[in-house]
């Protein structure tokens, strides 16, 4: 009997995957430890526009608040929004993809056409329109992002499902009289979970880009700290082209956004590579 290396072993040999994972863990840790590290920023502070120092590693903003505190509380928002969006998108998208991939008839066609339509529409403008209406609580924003993310998740799930449905072990399950529901949600799901998981990491990444975008445009939740709202405040006070320039104010949230997105992308690529070592020709 020969045993292949387990998923974890292969994963940790992949440099990009590990870098991605470390980045994500750092941001998550900062978020989780935020109440321990800093007080929740609110009100005013005495030191306006301070450059980075030992006391304020990321400097202070126009209200004298600690930018570092704003950023680490912002990472809680980012994770909250991403995870909510992933949950909403998965609840709708994964079953939709499984069903439309397995059943060839009209139901599959309808689901797929719906997915097509939503994939064609411009996402950010639609998000803006919906967010403008449903209001700006952070949960609403997260749900809206999830609702616009399910079509691409459904598409990926459907494509993987279609491939797996053709496999002989699915035919074998049918000949053994295993009911369709079990086949779909156990046999097929176990085998598409890989590519779907990869897509979920991408959803995590784009969710934060979307939330930051919406917050920056003023559609976010003004009462929670998020990287997008920090940037909006900086922008509104003209911080980017101000003299003297409080570059630290807009630089750190931006770097955190970039790090979050890049690391989840790397994580996704890493998981993908781990699952398909044959496809890694590069």
């Amino acid at each position: 009997m020969n045993t292949k290396r387990t998923f974890t072993q292969t994963f940790f040999r992949n440099r990009t995957a590990v870098i991605g994972l470390i980045g994500v863990v750092i941001i998550a840790a900062l978020g989780i430890l935020a109440p321990v590290l800093r007080e929740y920023p609110s009100g005013y502070g005495p030191d306006l526009y301070n450059p980075p120092s030992a006391k304020f590693p990321f400097g202070t903003d126009a209200l004298g608040l600690d930018v570092f505190a704003e950023v680490i509380y912002g990472s809680r928002t980012s994770f909250y929004v991403s995870l909510m969006a992933v949950a909403v998108a998965s609840l709708i998208g994964i079953p939709a993809g499984l069903i439309s991939g397995y059943y060839k008839g009209w139901i599959g066609e309808i689901i797929d056409s719906t997915v097509d339509i939503f994939l064609t529409l411009p996402v950010l403008p639609l998000m803006i329109v919906i967010a403008a209406i449903v209001g700006s609580s952070i949960t609403n924003v997260a749900i809206v992002i999830g609702l616009l993310a399910w079509p691409s998740l459904a598409r990926i799930t459907r494509n993987s499902t279609m491939k797996v449905t053709e496999m002989q072990y699915i035919e074998a399950a049918r000949s053994l009289g295993i009911p369709s529901g079990s086949i779909l949600f156990k046999h097929i799901f176990l085998n598409v979970a890989g590519p779907v998981l990869v897509n979920l990491t991408l959803v995590m990444a784009t969710a934060v880009l979307s939330e930051s975008g919406l917050s920056f445009l003023g559609l976010g939740d003004p009462s929670t700290w998020s990287w997008g709202t920090i940037l909006k405040k900086a922008w509104d006070t003209g911080a980017v082209i101000d003299t003297p320039n409080p570059w630290w104010w807009w630089l750190s949230p931006s770097l955190f956004i970039t790090m979050y997105v890049v690391c989840f992308n790397l994580l996704g690529t890493g998981i993908n590579d781990t699952l398909n070592p044959k496809n890694r020709e590069d």
């Binding site: 074998a172 049918r174 000949s175 046999h187």
Partner: protein, 327 residues
Amino acid sequence: MEAAFLEVKNLSKHFPIGSNLFGKKSLVHAINNVSFNLYKSETLGIVGESGSGKSTLGRVILKLTEPTAGEVIYKGRNIFVGSEAQIRRDMQMVFQDPYASLNPRMKVGEAIAEPLLVHKLVSNKKQAREKVIDLLQIVGLQPEMYNNYPHEFSGGQRQRISIARALALQPRLLICDEAVSALDVSVQAQILNLFNKLKQDLDLTYLFISHDLAVIKFISTRILIMYLGEVMELATTAELFSNTLHPYTEALISAIPEPSTQRRKGRIILEGDIPSAINLPQGCKFQTRCFKAMPQCKTIHPPLLETSPNHFVRCLLYSEQKKEGIE
């Protein structure tokens, strides 16, 4: 004459594929008007090249796909009418590809246990596990293998696992679709011997599908030759080899590799192209490649005739000696 275990009557299966400019669909005629009886405790070998329809035949009998026409009579009724629960219990299939017929993400033991639990042959997981261990041992594997995944096994072991899974529901008929074709020759021999042993121990009936006549010769009691979806010849193994009637069968037999140089006879090479299964030729389907073709073979479609007891052949060469025929 013994009553048949399974009667296949006039079975046809056509697949629509694509559509040309006018939206008309082309049909692949996978099987056409196939009829034969299967008797208890025999091993009926079904031989044919790719495209002969043998795999489709297996799948239709197992109700994995609906036939275009015809019936299969089992236990006094047509299996295509009514529910399939009983069929699933009594007939099972062992598939060709040992690497694709087991779910890579399921433990082997759980894969075998699943049908037991689904059909409520056991009342809890503990009982299922005991039964699975029994089955593993019947096919020659160790109980410890329960918790392993398919990729940890060799091809031959995986086929044994597939066989164990197929036997879980205690079927009476096992359809083996190219079950040894993907294995190394030495492993093939082991698995074929396993099949024979299981047949004796568990009183099974086999429908053994293969393109390899040597394998079929070894394991079958009767052999059915298929070409382009039709039955060309049907006889007991001994009769088929000693009294070969159909030219296609002759060509197949001559192609079996023969180790001894003294007994090597001239190999018949078939010339001509295999006709497309979409546009079947008129008359005899084999005449485009037949080395004994006569002018009338192009236009007259030969019926399947019983030229001697239990020996059926579909060829105009024997139509003059007509007895009772099955059309």
